[in-house]
């Protein structure tokens, strides 16, 4: 997947191709310019909690992408049926259902991960990224666009927490996906306990935001 920033102006056509420029932007924008974690600063909680190791982080990423894509799709499909006064409850119900499904599947087929992640998977329900996308996008856009939008936000979330987890596991435990890297190449590197603590995630996240904003020139007003 290309992570390039699409900065071409919007072009509207009658019959839009499946991956038009406008639609590509739905996916590519949240990866960098409008990243849910580093720019919108949402979903920080889980970014701190699950990122000590890469494997649970990957599972968590997949879970979030699944939930956000399908909740976006479902809400968009029923957007004209949902009464405005109960829309938040309906959104929550859809998210909670999908999250419960993910949790049950993990419990059945990936029990070790379930024990480790169950609490945090449950907390996906309150992940502001997902509620935010439903409220801001899916309620007012067509299903396919919403699906792409969900994909974009999910991937934007995923690559940030995976990057954080990569550095935390490497520096904190000296391994990548449980493979002891430093031992394998014969280097004696002391593990950094700070990286295992949540503080480590703050530091890495701060550095990522710094690098990113230097490149994009984004300033908060």
């Amino acid at each position: 997947m290309s992570v390039g920033t699409a900065e071409k102006p919007k072009i509207k056509k009658e019959a839009e191709p499946l991956l038009s420029k406008r639609r590509k932007k739905f996916v590519t924008d949240p990866l960098n310019d409008d990243n849910p974690i580093t720019v919108q600063v949402l979903g920080i909680c889980s970014a701190l909690a699950v990122t000590t190791q890469l494997e649970p982080t990957l599972v968590m990423s997949i879970a979030v992408i699944f939930v956000i894509v399908f909740s976006n799709l479902i809400i968009s499909l029923i957007r004209n049926l949902v009464p405005t006064r109960v829309r938040i409850i309906v959104q929550l119900a859809v998210i909670a259902t999908l999250v419960t499904l993910v949790n049950e599947v993990l419990k059945a087929y990936y029990y070790d991960m379930y024990k480790l992640l169950s609490v945090f998977v449950g907390l996906i329900i309150t992940n502001c990224i997902i509620m935010g996308r439903l409220e801001a996008f899916a309620l007012g856009n067509k299903p396919y666009d919403s699906l792409l939008d969900g994909m974009g936000s999910g991937l934007g979330y995923a690559w940030i927490i995976l990057t954080v987890a990569f550095f935390r596991e490497l520096l904190g435990s000296g391994s990548i996906f449980g493979f002891k890297v430093f031992e394998a190449i014969g280097l004696e590197v002391q593990n950094n306990g700070l990286m295992v603590a949540p503080v480590g995630a703050f530091i890495i996240l701060g550095l990522i935001i710094w690098v990113q904003r230097t490149k994009t020139g984004y300033v908060e007003h």
Binding site: V94, Y111, D112
Partner: protein
């Protein structure tokens, strides 16, 4: 129309039915697989208390090869409890959590015996323990050497302890602190093993009956201490009996 109360009520009802049905279906479909996953996990913990279980190993096969089990009552006598259909409840099927709610005298106590490859002689006795942590229940399996005094290994699990604090009882490093500790003193009295307050206690305070605690998780550590004390005293009759047997068989 869409904003009328009737519409909202009908819409909510239909949504609830669809979602409820979907979740019930998922739970029904995944139930058996989940049960099996839990069984494998429990057996892995039992084995984990005495041996290193390699990742990807066939837990169920290892279990049948190495573990035999029976159930004892509070007086240390072997019993064969029956469920309401008249089937014998094996040690694996005794629900420790449910037993925990009964009076200690009325509970059934499973005992898992570990044998080395190809040997019929017991190598370790593994006893399940159950208790209260800070937020929710904690439980585990304690393996005793054949002298029935020295701890060979321990595995703990929890339902909702704080990650990074109380949840550290699941860490191998914490569990290994129990290795080699003794639950009886020189006089033969049951003293159990206590987890101390605070971490990195001086070595001279970590005698045969004390293990280093977990910083920031004193209540969970106290829960572990209490759990061990309770269950060793419940198993005391069995342990005494077994000891006498070992001596007389020599």
């Amino acid at each position: 129309m869409q904003q009328s109360n009737i519409y909202i009520i009908v819409f909510s009802a239909i949504t609830t039915i669809i979602i409820g049905g979907l979740l019930a279906l998922a739970s029904g479909l995944l139930g058996p697989t989940q049960k099996k996953a839990i069984e494998v996990d429990t057996k892995q913990q039992i084995l984990g208390a005495v041996m290193e279980v390699e990742e990807g190993a066939d837990i169920l096969e290892l279990y049948t090869k190495h573990i035999s089990s029976f159930v004892v009552n509070y007086d240390g006598e072997k019993v064969e409890p029956q469920d309401k259909n008249g089937n014998t409840v094996t040690a694996e099927r005794v629900n420790i959590e449910k037993e925990f709610d009964k009076d200690p005298e009325d509970r059934y106590y499973p005992v898992f015996v570990f044998q080395q490859d190809g040997s019929d002689e017991p190598d370790a006795y593994i006893l399940p323990v159950y208790g209260n942590g800070l937020w929710d229940n904690i439980w585990g399996f304690i393996a005793l050497q054949t002298d029935l005094e020295t701890i060979k290994g321990a595995r703990f699990a929890h339902a909702g302890e704080t990650p990074g604090l109380g949840a550290r009882i699941t860490e191998i490093e914490v569990q290994n602190r129990f290795k080699g500790k003794k639950i009886y003193n020189e006089l033969g009295d049951l003293v159990s093993v206590s987890m101390m307050k605070g971490e990195n206690n001086p070595q001279d305070r970590l005698d045969d009956h004390h293990v280093d605690g977990m910083s920031g998780a004193t209540i969970t550590a106290n829960g572990v201490t209490e759990m061990l004390e309770n269950y060793f005293s419940h198993y005391n009759a069995f342990i005494e009996k077994q000891k006498n047997q070992e001596i007389s068989s020599l």
